[in-house]
Subunit: 340 residues, 2 copies
Amino acid sequence: MAAIGDVARLAGVSKATASRALSGRGYVAVETRRRVEAAAAEIGYIASPDAASLVTGRTKNVGVVIPFVNRWFFGEVLEGIERALLSAGYDLTLYNLAGRGAERARVFDFFLARKRVDAVIAVGVDLTGHEVDALERREKPLVCLGGSGGAAARLAVDDRAVGQLATEHLLHLGHTRIAHLAGLDAAARPDSVQGRRLQGFLDAIASEGLEVDRALVVEADVSLPGGYTGALQLLGHPRRRPTALFAASDEMAIGAIRAAERLGISVPAELSVIGVDGHEYAEMFDLTTVEQYPGEQGRLAVDVVMRLLGEGALADPLPDSGAPLPTRLVVRGSTTSAPR
Amino acid sequence: MAAIGDVARLAGVSKATASRALSGRGYVAVETRRRVEAAAAEIGYIASPDAASLVTGRTKNVGVVIPFVNRWFFGEVLEGIERALLSAGYDLTLYNLAGRGAERARVFDFFLARKRVDAVIAVGVDLTGHEVDALERREKPLVCLGGSGGAAARLAVDDRAVGQLATEHLLHLGHTRIAHLAGLDAAARPDSVQGRRLQGFLDAIASEGLEVDRALVVEADVSLPGGYTGALQLLGHPRRRPTALFAASDEMAIGAIRAAERLGISVPAELSVIGVDGHEYAEMFDLTTVEQYPGEQGRLAVDVVMRLLGEGALADPLPDSGAPLPTRLVVRGSTTSAPR
DNA sequence: CTGAAAGCGCTTACAG
DNA sequence: CTGAAAGCGCTTACAG
């Protein structure tokens, strides 16, 4: 395997000069650089990142911690991060935190604690103090996208406002019996994404002077089957059926639409449904939703990481530092005015 | 940052002994090992993988090349790979090949060619000769899961047989006007996964002595919206409407069911639909399908990689080496006998 | 069973 | 603008 010494010999220079020529750091005569580059190309030289990392302390590798790969939102974020990292010349090392205790500890205490990654992006994970500490002790920059915990740089939509907006949309259409399909543990974890959306729902109902019917709040897995199952409960009850439903994600909303179909409840005539995400299927299911832009969010997270690592224009301020990430209400055919 | 020298000093041994004690390689007195381990724990020592890689030539890192993250099949495979790699103590470096030419070349010629990964798993990618060469020249073991090209270890279902089985299921229900929603470029690329499924479809029709109506074969994006759009074409024609449809993936099949609903065509009474994959939504949509097991496939690919790298029990033969990966026909409510 | 030494492949002051 | 030397943090023969 060709090493830099081989390139140097072939080009008739020292290893130091070869290194400078190839990396672009330090002064090298134009002609010398040309010779070195030609030599490198000739023998197919590619620098060993390990050796370089060892001396520079930089790995050009970012760890991404994510609880799911196979949920639309997370998949989009991951793709956005990957694309941005790749074009910055960085690698992405993936840690899929499927919530399992021991493995999760291993990721933070071993995998991420080593000097293999320059920084960590945590997507939608509720970090414990211990986990954040483990990273801080190793001086790893940490960027959080959504989730909770972690004192470090955080990028997030305002999930309470999202829940409120979705609910207000239904209220303004005249609905008064509005259900909420919340994420699992939303009530128990008020700081989580799902907890915040639930809070926004409750706030909107309350500020309209209405009572919240607790039977109309059901927690379910944030997935299409979860939404389906949850909605069956909500819609199956003979007397308490809502006229509108705010689902905490588009996947849940689509599941709910499916459940309504199964029960012979017509959407939107008998049931308005709104979701959150801007899922790629939303248009096909004619679903009203509060869109967010996960691919873009991933790109932004990488921007922040690059800044923390001192790459690129350090002068660039963080874009709207601290401001919530953009969202937008997109009204489609799944919501309409309350039946009367 | 604590280095092995610090551990050695604290334990009162040499770096060599500390290294042996921590790695478990070579002889170390039990008592010495205990002292070293205590010292390492005390100062929170974690070995630098870069330094170790430099001398051992092993990175304990595997590159995964995958064309999508956000398709169910690929997401499942990725999760399966990640889990297996993590439990083997390996890292996963993700390269998402979104088909773009220049970036794709960069992945193979630069990222994967460096000494950062010990091996490469290519999931569902049609590799060019050049790409395989680039890896071979660097002596990187390559394991292919599906896809085509690449002389190396390959794990795959028998996609032709899958297409044939799905079509035969419909034929045996008495259908004679059977459509196929194929993947994009299926006809142009007979060696691709989608090309093979198409071939299986054609073979099944032909062996029943029926003519293939080319108008009933439509290529579309292998996704839910793709299936929806493709099915609208297929089902919208007043005279040529099929009574059964074989979709090349469950996502396409679900899109097709949605399209049928939109057109007021009842499934399965007027249209039987079968897909491929065993998608997590299949049960909810009551979809008949030929299941495959992507999570398990990912795990298997890691098994093979570990063998190629000489990890674990080398003696273990490859499981059913060369045999196609398992699939299974699961009949649900979306298929029924032909209307007469 | 343990230690001194060499070396993995780079980059970076430091001289010149 | 270029080179000799040191060193990043490990592991691995080689002696003992």
